[in-house]
């Protein structure tokens, strides 16, 4: 070897493979305003559509008069449910097995529901037209409080379901009832409660909120009459699913539908579902023969496209007096709004909420969920979490704190006492999951040592004493959260969407000069797939990440995939990428053996190529193999170097983490100060530590927003009172706390590279940490549970109700 021969370290570094803090390749265009989003698309002759929306939460639509609107210069058409009926599209199926009005058909069921679609030559004319459409409404009584939806005399919301005593998920108990879903052993659980030394029971609500991506939902539809082809550019997290849904409901052959997701400005679950805007833009394009663009504004996004959460969880835990949990019983009242448009795998009406036993070894548990209709917007998407997992994590993490309080035990100690132990993995939970791997005690102890948990508790005791002496008006809270996520939907044995198994896919094609393209069935909405997918390939096949172009989002070129949500990209598509790489590597090995004139088995992999065992000088780099693949493959072998893999995961992956929030609250104003937030995440193998850190920062910021103020709130008449960023809490960098991140590594035993997915963990684990901090701060004044969100006035209200203003 001479001085110019790169060292093994240099060769590894040159690949920028897994473990490297590779800079995000997509940022060059994003930070320079050169991204390409749906609204950047301008097609010749393109028209613009916009909605007339209902001011009422529940009303009969007596008439719709478009006469004046059609006189507005530039307005070409006003589409109503009557128009859509001619093509059988006035209603559309939802992912949850319900049906949903595309445009108001006889009545409206939530404020800002789509009533008519005005199509015009520009956006301004469309809006002028909207103001001229005259709709006559007859207001009906509204149902906003979910706890009143199943009252005997509650107004009937879904007249279309009259007489239907069962729905997609079994029997319906009431005219506003959607489904009941039960899991677990009821008798065993009831027995555990009868025998328990200590029990707790609390109604824990997770309020309605919204994923609110910066880019709202939007699309451009263009129907080519001559070819009979429909092209749809849209902000889709799952473009292939959209293509299949369109084929099924519009009866256009699937090969003639082209769905393209260009750059997408955030999704967080909001862009999984299909919305009336897509259908109307497509129909408008078919009717007019011109491309039609539909772009939601912020108010429309917040009030009409998918919300998240709205789970009201009556939580009971049974335990021994020394703090060993013996049973968990949860009943959820799930407010789905006017239509059940929940985006869950088809057989899971409450998502994976049965992960609610969390990180603890519950011998038995029982769960029942009642889904109900109210006069609110439909949705119920997984806002940066796997399906209903953040609700479950909040439920159990609050529950454990309440139990600790009742037992007089420290909440961290209670958790340590009940964790599933390392040697119990793979662990079968009482509600039916098989946890793949975990080391909870190590993570928890690392968190406690790093932040000096014992010291913080001492400080809190001193602060409380000072408060009682009247020396300070601030109280201090420590919010501990230890979450287990369930991500990577999912194995075909238990997950499908409309009958399509939830696999994912990758196709890799290497070029002669040692470069290549990888096409993947997922769709980055900001996660940095172009960066990390190339890193997996770099490590697997020894081609520098910089030489791999990653492409997603075009259904004509990408292999079929189920898209990006529920932290499934790395667990499912990441595995497909590794498997496709390994197919390539196997062929490469045959080529190398042929060229080096040895037997394949005499070769071993070495960073970026093969070498002959025992003869380290005899090597062939992957770059050279690429060239050879195109000119001198072994006799009988097909030339070229490419592979496709469709990966059906054998199991979910179970990331986990230990978080803590230290918070002070001024009881006079309710103003809080986040003094410290520490987040330890274990997502198995770490592909790009910098991207992980970025994902954790973003997810924690959302968790902070949700716990501390972000909500979709309705007044009793059904008006949304938080319909813009003035009132819907979207923190800026100024309000956002400083995040400390940390990690342990417990690889997934069944995943080809051991990775678990991390994008959503911080939202799942963060919310309980914030809420537990607030609740912990107030607990010494006698409260057990204060509902979220914990904004200033509600903190003040809590303080007031606990008597801190008594003279």
């Amino acid at each position: 070897m001479n001085d110019l021969t790169p060292t093994r370290e240099q060769r590894t570094a040159a690949l920028e493979g897994m473990g490297c803090k590779r800079k995000r390749v997509e940022d060059a265009r994003f930070t320079q305003g050169k991204g390409n989003y749906v609204d950047d698309l301008k097609l010749p002759g393109m028209l613009h559509g916009d909605f007339v929306r209902s001011p009422h939460a529940h009303a009969r639509v007596k008439s719709i008069n478009s006469e004046e609107a059609l006189k507005v210069p530039g307005v070409l058409a006003v589409i109503t449910a009557e128009t859509l009926k001619t093509v059988n599209l006035a209603w559309m199926p939802t992912l949850a097995g319900d049906v949903q009005m595309v445009l108001a058909d006889g009545k409206v069921l939530f404020q800002n529901q789509e009533v008519a679609f005005v199509v015009a030559t520009d956006r301004y004319a469309a809006d002028d037209g909207i103001n001229k459409v005259v709709v006559e409404y007859e207001p009906l009584p509204v149902v906003i409080d979910p706890f009143k939806a199943m009252d005997k005399d509650a107004p009937v919301l879904r007249e279309d379901l009259a007489g239907k005593t069962s729905g997609a998920h079994g029997p319906r108990k009431h005219h506003n009832h959607i489904f009941e879903w039960t899991v677990g052993d009821k008798d065993l659980t009831d027995a555990a409660f009868r025998k328990a030394d200590v029990t707790i029971k609390e109604m824990i609500s997770y309020h309605r909120t919204h994923p609110s991506p910066l880019e709202t939902c939007q699309c451009v539809c263009s129907f080519d009459k001559i070819r009979g082809e429909l092209s749809i550019w849209g902000t889709f997290q799952a473009p292939h699913v959209i293509r299949t849904v369109v084929a099924l409901i519009a009866k256009i052959p699937e090969q003639k539908i082209h769905v393209i997701s260009p750059d997408v400005g955030g999704g967080f679950g909001n862009k999984v579902g299909a919305y009336p805007g897509y259908i109307c833009a497509a129909v408008a394009s078919i009717v007019t023969g011109k491309p039609v663009k539909w772009v939601e504004d912020r108010i429309e996004n917040l009030t009409a496209t998918s919300f998240a959460r709205d789970y009201h969880m009556t939580t009971e835990i049974a335990a021994t007096k020394d703090g060993k949990v013996t049973g968990l019983r949860v009943h959820v009242l799930a407010d789905h709004g006017a239509f059940d448009a929940c985006a869950d795998p088809s057989k899971w009406p409450a998502g994976f909420f049965n992960i609610v036993t969390g990180s603890y070894d519950f011998p038995t548990a029982h769960l029942s969920v009642d889904g109900i209709y109210t006069n609110k917007a439909p949705g119920g998407v997984a806002y940066r979490c796997s399906f209903r997992v953040t609700e479950a994590a909040y439920c159990i993490e609050r529950g454990m704190d309440i139990l600790a309080q009742k037992l007089g035990m420290d909440p961290a100690e209670l958790r340590l006492k009940n964790f599933i132990r390392k040697e119990q993995f793979p662990y079968h939970s009482a509600l039916g999951w098989e946890y793949d791997s975990g080391d909870y005690h190590t993570a928890m102890k690392k968190m406690m040592e790093t932040v000096d948990y014992a010291g913080l508790r001492k400080e809190q005791a001193a602060q409380r004493a000072a408060f009682k002496r009247g020396e300070t008006r601030e109280i201090m809270g420590l919010g501990v959260s230890f979450f287990t996520e369930i991500v990577g939907a999912g194995p075909s044995k238990n997950c499908d969407i409309l009958g399509i198994a939830m696999f994912d896919s990758c196709e890799i094609r290497l070029h002669p000069t040692g470069a290549g393209i990888a096409r993947v069935g997922t769709k980055s909405t900001g996660q940095g797939h172009e960066t990390t997918w190339a890193q997996i390939i770099a490590t697997e096949i020894g081609i520098p990440a910089d030489n791999i172009m990653v492409e997603e989002g075009n259904t004509d070129t990408a292999p079929y995939g189920l898209g990006t949500y529920g932290s499934r990209s790395t667990p499912v598509a990441g595995a497909a990428i590794a498997m496709a790489s390994r197919k390539i590597k196997a062929k490469a090995q045959m080529i190398a053996a042929y060229k080096l004139e040895v037997h394949e088995d005499d070769l071993e992999w070495d960073i970026d190529g093969f070498r002959v065992k025992g003869l380290p000088e005899k090597t062939m780099s992957m770059k050279d193999i690429c060239w050879a693949a195109y000119n001198s493959v072994p006799p009988g072998m097909e030339p070229g170097l490419e592979a496709v893999s469709y990966y059906d995961p054998p199991n979910m992956t179970y990331p986990f983490g230990a978080y803590i929030c230290v918070m002070n609250i001024d009881v006079d104003t309710g103003v809080y100060k986040i003094r410290r937030f520490y987040a330890l995440d274990d997502c198995g193998t770490r592909i790009n530590p910098m991207i992980i850190e970025g994902q954790v920062h973003g997810g924690l910021t959302e968790a902070f927003a949700i716990a501390m103020g972000q909500e979709i709130r309705y007044d009793p008449e059904g008006n949304v009172v938080t319909g813009s960023f003035m009132d819907f809490f979207m923190p800026t960098a100024v309000e956002t706390p400083h995040w400390e991140t940390d990690f342990t590594v417990t690889p997934s035993p069944h995943h080809p590279i051991g990775a678990k997915g991390v994008g959503e963990s911080p939202n799942v684990g963060g919310v309980p940490a914030f809420s537990n901090a607030v609740n912990d701060a107030f607990s010494f004044l006698g409260s057990t549970h204060i509902q979220m969100p914990h904004d200033y006035w509600r903190n003040w209200k809590a303080a007031k109700s606990l008597g801190v203003f008594a003279a």
Partner: protein
């Protein structure tokens, strides 16, 4: 969020602007920084047919001395106020309040004239102007006139501006040397209007309050001067009992609306706390 149709005018003189506004009538509105008016237009809560942009008029900008008064041109932006050494020295409370308005982008565009002429109870400058005893200069079809800030606000979005009138300048007498001041504002986040805010300007001698003015933002449909609260602190050393009395007197005149910032009771309660904190901080600054 798409505004209705309108035509755009850009006069070069105050006289032309006044003429345009009076001939175009009710459907014409002056446009300053646009950061209150344009959002209202996008929501179609305001649908003016004509916008008369004041940016082309020389002389509506700038900060100058006029004897013992400071005169600020209506089209002076919040950012320019913040950059002015003169304001820093003579009216530091103006900078303290301006920094609490929205974010840098809004402050680069938003003008002090637009802020005080808008008539939105959520604007911060009006209560401050009342506290400082400012006067507004108005020019209209019938000529010019001066009006005290305390006389200007009549209801939410209703002011003393007559049809065709524009506000050209704000004039403030220099506060006494050694005065103490504070603007205390509680808001939920950057870019939010006040849940409650209080402005205090006072003078002290021998540890006792000699003079005091207190203004309140977003606690009524107009900005308020809390005269009784101010009276209650004169001659005191701002002891706990006095502060409590002042807060109670201020709360007595508040009638905020319940909104997502909190119920009425909360907004009044924190309104009292803003008064208390502003008094304490102003006193600590007084020399």
């Amino acid at each position: 969020m798409i505004p209705g149709p309108f035509s755009y005018h850009r006069p070069a003189t105050v006289a032309d602007a006044v003429k345009l506004l009076s001939t175009l009538g009710d459907e014409a509105r002056p446009l300053a920084g646009g950061h209150s008016l344009v959002p209202m237009m996008k929501l179609r809560l305001a649908t003016p047919e004509h916008l008369v942009d004041l940016h082309g008029i020389d002389g509506l900008k700038g900060i100058r001395r006029d004897g013992n008064r400071i005169v600020i041109g209506a089209m002076t932006t919040q950012a320019e106020l913040l950059a002015s050494d003169d304001i820093a020295k003579s009216l530091p409370i103006l900078q303290e309040a301006a920094l609490l308005i929205a974010d840098p982008q809004v402050r680069y565009m938003g003008t002090i004239g637009g802020n005080v002429a808008n008539g939105d109870p959520g604007n911060d400058m009006p209560a401050l102007m009342m506290t400082l005893g400012a006067h507004y200069r108005l020019e209209g079809p019938g000529g010019g006139r001066d009006i005290a800030a305390t006389e200007f606000y009549q209801g939410a979005y209703f002011t003393a501006l007559e049809p065709g009138e524009i506000l050209t300048a704000i004039s403030v007498a220099l506060p006494a040397a050694g005065h103490g001041y504070a603007y205390e504002k509680l808001k939920r986040k950057i870019g939010d209007y006040a849940t409650a805010a209080a402005a205090v300007v006072l003078t002290m001698a021998g540890g006792k309050v000699v003079s005091c003015a207190i203004g309140l933002t977003n606690l009524h449909e107009t900005p308020l001067l809390a005269t009784d609260a101010a009276k209650a602190v004169i001659g005191t050393s701002l002891d706990a009992a006095t502060l409590k009395k002042a807060a109670a007197a201020a709360e007595a005149i508040m009638s905020p609306a319940a909104d997502a910032r909190g119920p009425v009771e909360y907004r009044k309660h924190v309104g009292g706390i803003m008064v208390t904190r502003a008094l304490q901080r102003a006193a600590s600054r007084a020399k």
